[in-house]
């Protein structure tokens, strides 16, 4: 998109907006939550999204995708964020397809990417082990044996991990916790023997799972990329994931801002519309400012992905940190400006706040990415 959408991108954005408003409005997500749906998203919705081509939007045409690029994916994610639509777009496409495209062998790509593009395969990547995102701290062990590798340990906060057909696992094949070297990516079946999966009931009622590996055996074919080179491969994938998630958060935060602005124009107190109180006006103007700055960053970062800029990592951290702080602020203000009604479960603004807090921590918090940005830029 560069910094302005071209005509094709405008059409994509408009159709994504209409799609989610129609097929996955906030009420749909609320229903999933209230009915304690075990999958955590609508498979029907995912099929419809795949039909729109979005499951394969970044996948090369050679593997059945649209090869439309990350700017398009960012637009879809932004619109998905606007209605809090739950889908495996982040887990399956950003993480799963992303890893295969980055480091997969020809055989792996041919086998899996077309299925992802057609919406028939759910994939995810299992990274986290502690309270805070920090892939270099991976301790999860893969021991090599005659037939391949044996995986043992726990992975947490695995997005869609309880329903993914296949899981890519970041595991240590050498070195120590803290080393970037010695980490390897393995492709594991969701139904593998020795693997126990438990859906985590998160604040945002979205999808994350705890995966317990008890001597799970995989063959040598299961390795993705180079043995010991998993960190570097994953880092590029995570840059894309951070930018994509920032786009989704921007959409959500924009929605909160819009509903708050509407409320300011409609709610009366002390005989006046509350939006006519200057302190609220200035705070609204400040939110708008943060959102405009965020928008520039997300567009820049998504474009950088398609242009293979050498600034991608920097821009990914910038986007995740900056949009994360914006989202935190906007959701706080959203509730405060709505007053009591915003505190009730039946109002949507609370759903956005909950989603924001989880998204803020996914793939690294703002603090994590500020530190990373400083490192990348030699501060």
């Amino acid at each position: 998109m560069g910094l302005v959408l071209d005509e094709e991108q405008t059409i994509l954005k408009d159709s994504a907006k209409a799609f989610f408003a129609d097929q996955a409005p906030v009420t749909a997500f609320r229903k999933l939550r209230d009915e304690k749906d075990e999958t955590g998203f609508s498979r029907e919705l995912w099929r419809a999204m795949a039909e729109m081509g979005w499951a394969g939007i970044v996948i090369p045409e050679a593997y059945g995708g649209l090869e439309y690029g990350f700017q398009g994916l960012a637009l879809v994610l932004e619109e998905q964020g606007r209605t809090l639509a739950a889908s495996p777009l982040v887990s399956t496409v950003l993480l799963g397809a992303g890893t295969l495209m980055e480091a997969g062998s020809e055989a792996q790509k041919s086998a899996l990417l077309p299925k992802i593009a057609e919406g028939s395969l759910l994939l995810t990547v299992a990274i986290d082990e502690g309270h805070h995102f920090n892939p270099a701290q991976t301790a999860f062990e893969a021991k090599s044996d005659s037939d391949g590798f044996i995986l043992t340990g726990e992975k947490t906060f695995v997005l869609d991990g309880h329903v993914a057909d296949k899981i890519i696992v970041l595991a240590r094949t050498s070195g120590n916790k803290g080393d970037r070297e010695g980490l390897t990516l393995f492709l594991v079946e969701g139904t593998a023997e020795g693997l126990t999966r438990e859906r985590l009931k998160m604040l945002d009622s979205r999808n994350a799972a705890l995966l317990m590996f008890d001597q799970v055996k995989v063959t040598g074919d299961a390795v993705i990329g180079a043995i010991g080179g998993g960190y570097d491969a994953l880092e590029s994938v995570l840059d894309r994931a951070a930018i994509g998630l920032a786009a989704e958060m921007l959409g959500s935060a924009s929605a909160v801002f819009e509903m708050t602005l509407d409320y300011l124009k409609e709610r009366r107190q002390f005989g006046q519309l509350i939006g006519s109180f200057q302190s609220l006006q200035h705070r609204a103007a400040d939110m708008f400012t943060q959102l405009e700055l965020s928008k520039s960053i997300v567009m820049t970062a998504a474009t950088a992905l398609d242009e293979s800029s050498n600034e991608i990592s920097s821009l990914a951290s910038l986007a995740k940190a900056f949009v994360g702080e914006t989202s935190n602020k906007v959701t706080r203000e959203g509730i405060q400006m709505h007053g009591g009604i915003g505190m009730t479960d039946e109002h949507d603004v609370g759903l956005y706040l909950k989603r924001s807090r989880v998204a803020e921590h996914t793939f690294g918090s703002a603090a994590y990415h500020r530190d990373r940005y400083a490192r990348l830029n030699d501060y």
């Binding site: 309270h131 805070h132 947490t156 107190q269 405060q336 009591g340 915003g342 909950k354 921590h361 530190d371």
Partner: protein, 396 residues
């Protein structure tokens, strides 16, 4: 021996005799709080015994006059009673909006008959009261109240809806602000007592973003109350409401979600979740945020002390105007910082994977968002400081 010393010995002896053993243990959870009322259930019979004994002495309302069931104690005696109850870690015999809010109003504005009728049951915990102020269209701005009360013969007939009525679903009666004159704003409001045990009153609990809550919506559809239950003068409820709100604000912030104490210390959690480096919180940036917060907490605690010292010295304390505002914003920031520190552990909603403390933190972070809304919004607090304390004026 002074009179007070003698009194202290009497109290001590009486407590030794009358405070049941289980009432000297710390409360386990909210279920252990005794609210009294017609529908009260006592899992622990000693809780009921303790209430009955304290109620009979009037010591649930130590300084209220004896003729209305109170303890009739002087301030000094009441302080001694408090100290002695504290000394044996006695549980409060009764928690009650009747004691805290309605009682003082009745003592100041009630007629002799009204005091005689309502105060003794409050002291003994026989009637559980709730308060009905806010309405869907009138949050910070009570002048916008729309619940109407119309005199029909001997009764007022009330129609409207109240919201944020704490424990309305468990209460026996409600003290309400109602509109008795629609031609003016502030001047058309009255303070009315209504029995809730009638078909015209229904309640519905409110679920918050943090989960279940004590709050309810309360619907009044042709609810009736005898005209004698009007407190103060007709259309004079605004004055009573202002006093009560002020009282509520001070209560909330001083005892409520204020500085530290209740939850685990921020710095300890930071060490646990972020690790340590030579004994220090390993993440220097977060450590700085923790210090900032601790400094603010200390400044707040000292300001509370100063406020009470000033009040004791008979001075008007301008600091009192900032208390609610600071407490609310501080607690919200504290909870956000805790979530930052605890990461994934404070992002759970339920389930065994998350620690009790983690889940409690998640919920508390969400619940804290209301701190700057309930009992006077932060915006209203700032308006009050600007106008009443600093003397700034509205556009002319």
């Amino acid at each position: 021996m002074s009179n007070l010393d003698i009194f202290r010995e009497e109290v001590r002896a009486w407590l030794a005799e009358n405070c049941p053993p289980s009432m000297r243990t710390p409360m386990g959870n909210d279920e252990d709080v005794v609210w009294g009322g017609r529908k009260a259930k006592y899992e622990n019979p000693e809780a009921r015994l303790w209430l009955d004994r304290m109620g009979a002495k009037g010591w649930t309302a130590p300084t209220w006059p004896k003729e209305y069931g109170g303890g009739g104690l002087t301030k000094e005696e009441a302080a001694v009673l408090g100290q002695e109850l504290g000394r044996i870690d006695a549980r409060p015999a009764l928690a009650s909006f009747g004691l805290w809010m309605l009682g003082p109003v009745l003592l100041e504005y009630g007629t002799e008959e009204q005091k005689k009728e309502h105060l003794p049951p409050i002291v003994r915990g026989e009637i559980r009261w709730c308060q009905g102020y806010s309405e869907p269209g009138a949050g910070s701005d009570l002048a916008g109240l729309q619940t109407r009360a119309v005199l029909e013969g001997e009764d007022y007939v009330i129609n409207g809806q109240k919201v944020w009525t704490s424990y309305a679903d468990k209460a026996d009666a409600i003290f309400c602000l109602v509109r008795t004159d629609t031609s003016t704003k502030h001047e058309g409001i009255s303070f009315l007592l209504i029995d809730m045990d009638q078909p015209g009153v229904t309640t519905k609990p409110i679920k918050l973003i943090s989960g279940n809550s004590p709050f309810c919506e309360t619907f009044l559809d042709d609810a009736r109350t005898p005209a004698r239950n009007l407190i103060g003068r007709l259309n004079g409820g605004w004055e009573i409401a202002k006093k009560l709100l002020q009282h509520e604000r001070t209560n909330i912030s001083a005892g409520g979600f204020g500085a530290g104490g209740r939850a685990a210390a921020l710095e300890e959690l930071a060490k646990e979740y972020l690790g340590t480096d030579r004994g220090e919180i390993a993440d220097a940036v977060k450590r700085d945020q923790v210090v900032r917060h601790k400094m603010l907490e200390r400044a707040f605690a000292q300001t509370l002390k100063r406020m009470s010292a000033e009040t004791k010295a008979g001075e008007v304390s301008p600091a009192s105007s900032i208390i609610k505002y600071v407490a609310a914003e501080m607690n919200k920031d504290r909870m956000e910082l805790l979530v930052e520190i605890m990461g994934l552990q404070a992002l759970g909603w339920s389930g065994d994977y998350f620690s009790k403390q983690g889940l409690a933190t998640t919920r508390a972070m969400l619940r804290s968002k209301a701190n700057s809304i309930e009992g006077g919004t932060t915006e209203v607090n700032l308006n009050v400081i600007a106008k009443r304390v600093l003397g700034l004026r509205d556009h002319q």
